[in-house]
Symmetry: C2
Subunit: 209 residues, 2 copies
Amino acid sequence: MKLYRPDEIEKRSFEIITQEIGDIELDAKVAPIVKRVIHTTADFDYLHNLCFSENVINIALEAIKKGVDIVTDTKMALSGINKAALAKAGGKAYCYMADEDVARKAKEQNSTRASVSMEKAAELDKPLIFAIGNAPTALIKLDELIKSNKIKPVLIIGVPVGFVNVVESKELIMKSGVPYIVARGRKGGSNVAAAIVNALLYMAYPRES
Amino acid sequence: MKLYRPDEIEKRSFEIITQEIGDIELDAKVAPIVKRVIHTTADFDYLHNLCFSENVINIALEAIKKGVDIVTDTKMALSGINKAALAKAGGKAYCYMADEDVARKAKEQNSTRASVSMEKAAELDKPLIFAIGNAPTALIKLDELIKSNKIKPVLIIGVPVGFVNVVESKELIMKSGVPYIVARGRKGGSNVAAAIVNALLYMAYPRES
């Protein structure tokens, strides 16, 4: 097999993805996100299931350049986000899932830790991007908090994966009035959430090639 | 939408997966792994692309119960592994990707950090399970180390994802003579690697339902 140099691997991967996408029309603004998600999953379903609210890329890039913080619903998504790129404008990434107070409240309320994590994030009272790759209950809670004016996210990346309440929770977010990037249907994941965040970061801060 | 209680969500998800798999024959030994990967990805392709070497489940469970350590090629896979379950028999999980010495050597050798990480793991000189969800170069290096008798993994979970050298690297591992669980083809990921490890851990230590 032809072994590529480390610095060539990603470039060559994106060339192959672009080639296989072929003639399918892809909005130039969202193409880097769609391609990075396919790069992360090798799953071309994301060509069709990723949904973007109007003008969402401009909104996201502007917020990133102002140092917006990011809240995730898994440690996996948190660890996949390029924190060095995010820090360029002072942005930080948080995940409250392992916090003791979150675990305690979730148990008390017979709720999920993801749901309680969103309540905790709402208390930050600052512009936030939510990157939700696992828990539909996080999206359901965000929708509730939006409706009761307790939170107004800059952007919700809504890509939980799974079989229970996942499809419906994503539809809720797409009707919430908040800017969104959503993987419609069952697919998604922490890796997909991190890939979307990183695609946005690399659009905000183009890397040397 | 019917909201399930937190403790019901996973159970209900597995019921749906089992139902949708339907009549497709699935070896009882490997079924928990295949189902957990589908649970993690919502991608039924894994019904067909997961390959298991002979007797690999017994080998893996025995090693886990003896406290085998696990080496991953990403922080994401590391953070997805259930460390509490692994620790029951004294097992630990490692990822060397962010180590300074690894970064330096990779640069010097124009190699990947994943490849150098495998060399570093070989120096541990103890029984190891490798959970590789990202880097084909990790698998290629493992194959080299196996051929030169520098390492003898208990099990290689070979599920890197992508478009460059990925397919071929997995085929190498399937011919290496080492017990393997491989996602044949392009698909896989850090999430898939962690899901397979966790499925094995939950087989070794059944959770209360």
